[in-house]
């Protein structure tokens, strides 16, 4: 899987309230959630971004609540991939479960500048800064996580398993 897009840069400890404020959690509709994506971190974000763009952030991205509405909002907003120095545990798990591509790379997180063009090869785990030519290697996923991603997320994976048990 390859993605190419412009990168938007955020700092450390971007929390789930910044990604999708709780005042909008009275719905679980992905489109409605996407309309408020990153609103408390950058109120103009949804106006500026283009589908296919990427997020780059510092350490502990997605800390706070377990709300799956956070990766859902990012995915539904059209963000192709999130690159961070590290991810909060539940966000990491949720992103993989719903099939939002994420990559952990402290080096890329440090180097990427807002507005640069980036190419990501998810299988190889490489992040290429097309504006400078630099290439970064992300932390590889454990095998099981890759199986989940290949299946398209946790639900298709469990579907296959349940169907297998029945058959």
């Amino acid at each position: 899987m390859e993605y190419r897009g412009k990168v938007w840069v955020f700092g450390d400890d971007v929390d789930t309230d910044a990604i999708i404020p709780a005042r909008y959690l009275n719905t679980s509709d992905p489109g409605e959630l996407a309309a408020h994506c990153m609103e408390d971190a950058d109120p103009a974000f949804m106006v500026k971004m283009q589908p296919g763009d990427m997020l780059a952030a510092g350490k502990n991205f997605g800390c706070g609540s377990s709300r799956e509405h956070a990766p859902i909002a990012i995915k539904a907003a059209g963000i192709s991939c999130v690159i961070a120095a590290s991810f909060a545990r539940i966000f990491y798990r949720n992103a993989i479960n719903i099939g939002l591509p994420i990559l952990e790379s402290p080096e890329a997180s440090k180097a990427l500048q807002e507005g640069q063009e980036v190419q990501v090869d998810l299988k190889a785990g490489t992040i290429t800064n097309l504006s400078t030519g630099e290439v970064f290697q992300a932390t590889p996923f454990p095998d099981f996580m890759r199986q989940l991603m290949d299946a398209g997320g946790l639900i298709p994976y469990v579907q296959q398993k349940v169907a297998g048990q029945k058959g």
Binding site: D17, L25, P43, S66, N94
Partner: protein
């Protein structure tokens, strides 16, 4: 090689002799939890899996508490998705308005979370049950959906960091101060992907409510779980309450810890965390002059009976400062009733506080006390992120109940000794 209690619980539930940090295991869970925000998403995913029934109607807990009693039409629709699901599958532990409470206060109170158990909840503060010696951790809605269908979940076995709290707790210092001090020390990602284990003399002397407060905030250090070994205090709490037999788990003498961190707490001061991260903790006496618009006492962190008592001790015979709103929310119906029976609610009302039926409400900026632009609140809750309690330009400070009550009297962040 010995194992930590976290490792032992995961090994048992995975049907393995032993596990080590980094192992990926498929484990049977004892309880799966969801609430009115996370369950609707999980229910949608559950139906996609295509199973005919839930794995066990007695091991799923559904608690409408975030926007309930419903704050608007949309939240009413979300709550209804959960209610309909609970009826359809005859879910035993569905808690309706009037019988509910904030989930992490309610489930232990109902005896549904027990030592040695493996519990997942689609809510990050599921780690609260670690106070009883369970391995309990927050997951997302999709994990909840899969577990409702199969009774299982995947875990990466975390390494454990051990904390030893030496010395006796000084007056006015409780579980909230210990955990704020700890997060202030290790940072909001200091426990990322780890299990924390809280030990030492100060923990042994802490009552159950104070222990819940500590484990509750393990996630605020990024941790997967925050465990305390069961002891006489735990067993006392569970007497007549435990809903099923349980088997305690303890760390071996030769268990392997990633790190051991020790604190001497005998001179610890009551703490307050400044905006906008729980790690910005400092002693209340060093807070300076922070004028407040609102004080909230409640939530899954500090809405239990000991918290109500601590607040009442400070508020007894005093008035809430005229420039400020004090909102007190007992976390469950039982705590609410006990606070009435003990006369605490009278003290609150006499002081000029608003007292509400159990709900998460303002804790996550839902309703029942939202902040306007530029307003400042002190809350006994667990998060002070930007916009957490209302307008993105409002501010939230965090403390324990005694400091919150004292601050409600003076109108600014205040050490309890100053008003008593």
């Amino acid at each position: 090689m010995g194992m930590t209690m976290a490792e032992k619980i995961l090994a048992r539930h995975a049907g393995r002799e032993e596990v080590a940090p980094g192992d990926l295991v498929l484990a049977r869970v004892d309880l799966v939890l969801g609430n009115d925000i996370t369950a609707p998403v999980a229910i949608r995913e559950f139906y996609r899996i295509g199973v005919e029934d839930v794995f066990d109607r007695e091991r799923i807990a559904l608690v409408p508490d975030h926007f309930v009693p419903n704050k608007d039409i949309q939240s009413a629709e979300q709550a209804k998705i959960m209610r309909d699901f609970a009826r359809k599958f005859n879910i035993l532990h569905y808690f309706e308005v009037g019988r509910m409470g904030v989930e992490h206060a309610l489930l232990p109170e109902a005896g549904l979370t027990l030592p040695g158990e493996l519990i997942i909840g689609a809510d990050s503060h599921t780690c609260t049950y670690g106070a009883l010696g369970a391995f309990a951790t927050g997951v997302g809605s999709t994990d909840m959906a899969a577990a409702m269908a199969t009774g299982e979940a995947w875990f990466k076995v975390p390494a454990t960091i051990k904390f030893i709290y030496r010395g006796k707790l000084p007056p006015w210092v409780g579980g909230k101060d210990l955990i704020l001090h700890t997060i202030g020390d290790i940072g909001v990602d200091g426990g990322l992907y780890k299990a924390l284990e809280f030990t030492g003399e100060a923990i042994e002397e802490l009552d159950m409510d104070g222990r819940f407060t500590m484990s509750n905030m393990a996630i605020e250090a990024g941790a997967k779980a925050g465990l305390i070994a069961p002891d006489a205090t735990t067993r006392d709490y569970l007497k007549g309450r435990a809903s099923r037999p349980y088997r305690e788990a303890f760390s071996d003498e030769d268990a392997c810890y990633e790190k051991v961190i020790e604190y001497d707490v005998s001179n610890l001061e009551p703490q307050v965390a400044f905006p906008h991260l729980p790690e910005n903790a400092r002693p209340v006496r060093e807070a300076g002059d922070v004028i407040l618009d609102q004080v909230i006492i409640g939530s899954c962190t500090n809405g239990r009976i000991e918290d109500m008592r601590a607040a009442a001790r400070v508020l007894e015979g005093k008035k809430v400062h005229k420039g400020l709103r004090l909102i007190i929310i007992p976390a469950t119906q039982a705590i609410y009733r006990q606070a009435i029976d003990e006369g605490l609610v009278h003290t609150f009302l006499d002081a000029g506080a608003a007292v509400s039926t159990p709900t998460c409400g303002p804790c996550l900026g839902g309703y029942m006390g939202i902040l306007a632009r530029g307003e400042k609140a002190l809350a006994t809750t667990n998060r002070n992120f930007v916009g957490r309690m209302g307008h993105p330009e409002s501010e939230v400070y965090l403390s324990g109940p005694a400091v919150a009550a004292a601050s409600a009297v003076t109108g600014r962040i205040t050490h309890p000794e100053e008003v008593l």
